[in-house]
């Protein structure tokens, strides 16, 4: 009996780790969702192009970024899934809500980060006909995030 419980615990913990990654990766295959993934190298090239063109480079000020995801949807199914995940993350005990805004027009904004190790910054937007999530993954501190949001 003890062995069965131990086995279930090991499998459950590995599945929960997998599930955490699947929060964002599942959008790569959902129809009606615009899923953009920019990895470190491409991000460096992109920000270089923006700075050469004289544009702002806000995100690069955050620190060393590994990955950026832009997930957005106008379709019913995709929007519902994004809304659900944003609400789930805002109540997740591993995430800390840094800022929220609820406007009278029904637009809701959420900015949250990991509680223990702030290597993910998530900006979630729920609008009437459109929802989006920007996930920035990298090596940055809480101070970096604070400076970035107050710039």
């Amino acid at each position: 009996m003890k062995r069965i419980i131990l086995a279930i615990c090991i499998i459950a913990s590995s599945l929960s780790t997998q599930a955490q990654n699947q929060i964002f990766s599942k959008y790569a295959t959902i129809d009606g969702v615009d899923f953009v993934c920019i990895n470190k190298a491409m991000f460096g090239l992109g920000t270089k192009m923006i700075s050469v063109a004289g544009g702002g480079e806000d995100l690069s000020k955050l620190g060393s970024l590994d990955k950026m995801l832009i997930i957005s949807s106008d379709s019913d199914g995709g929007k519902k899934q994004i809304d659900k995940d944003i609400k789930a993350l805002s109540t997740d005990k591993d995430y800390e809500v840094l800022m929220t805004s609820h406007s009278s027009g029904g637009d809701n904004m959420f900015i949250f980060t990991n509680k223990r190790k702030p290597h993910e910054l998530i900006i979630g937007t729920i609008e009437k006909e459109h929802s989006s999530m920007i996930v920035v993954v990298g090596d940055f501190s809480k101070e970096d995030i604070s400076n970035f949001l107050n710039q």
């Binding site: 599942k26 993934c37 270089k48 990955k67 832009i70 637009d107 937007t125 949001l149």
Partner: protein, 221 residues
């Protein structure tokens, strides 16, 4: 020393004896106690068992009988119908076996039949130690097998995911220009979100500034 021992101490010693944890000195104390006439009623069965064990260990056993008993005991350990109940003593290397299902024969109208097998220490110590270590080994073999099975399943799943499942986090932008456009889009979305989140704070700060100016005007006036 035995005379000074209370019944509770004897019972405690007895339970340690059944667990095989007593020292030869403690077993001598128990033997001295059980040889007395005034042993309480609830310890009479233990007295019989203990004296039987003590008597057996003191007798010299012929080699052919010892071999026969060794074979019998080893067969008991492998039988499905009989399970070891407890080791009796480290000194005597005894094992009490219990029949898992009582025999249907009418002669045995008791719910549980116990067979006590004792081994003369000078004859059977190696086999007794081996029997116990085999049981321990079986447990660790099972643990090792469970861990190996889980590791194999986990490794297989991970290997399958890495080999066959497409990486969901591969670059979706083919060119740096495309990436630059997406980064600018993200920048504007973040700017909009932070602006909207900070708007109430900005308004409050503006009101506070206005109030401060008004107060200063009144003070200067």
């Amino acid at each position: 020393m035995t005379d000074n021992m209370t019944i509770e101490q004897i019972k405690s010693l007895l339970s340690r004896f059944y667990e095989g944890k007593t020292t030869p000195e403690e077993e001598r104390q128990l033997a001295a106690f059980f040889r007395r006439e005034d042993v309480p009623e609830d310890l009479q069965q233990d007295k019989q068992l203990f004296l039987l064990l003590a008597q057996t260990s003191e007798q010299e056993m012929p080699q052919d009988i010892a071999d026969e008993i060794t074979a019998f005991v080893n067969n008991l350990g492998q039988s499905d119908d009989i399970q070891p109940l407890t080791h009796v003593s480290k000194q005597h290397k005894g094992v009490i076996y219990r029949l898992k299902t009582p025999p249907k024969d009418k002669e045995f109208n008791v719910p549980e039949v116990r067979t006590t097998v004792t081994r003369a220490p000078h004859l059977l110590r190696p086999q007794a130690t081996g029997f116990r270590s085999v049981r321990l080994n079986r447990f660790w073999y099972r643990v090792a097998a469970t861990v190996a099975l889980l590791a194999a399943i986990g490794g297989g799943v991970l290997h399958h995911q890495r080999t066959y499942a497409p990486d969901p986090f591969r670059d979706t932008c083919a060119t740096p220009e495309e990436a630059a456009a997406q980064i600018q889009r993200a920048n504007s979305m973040i700017a909009k979100a932070t602006e909207q989140c900070m708007a109430p704070t900005s308004k409050a700060l503006q009101k506070a500034d206005a109030a401060k100016q008004l107060i200063n005007q009144h003070i200067n006036f």
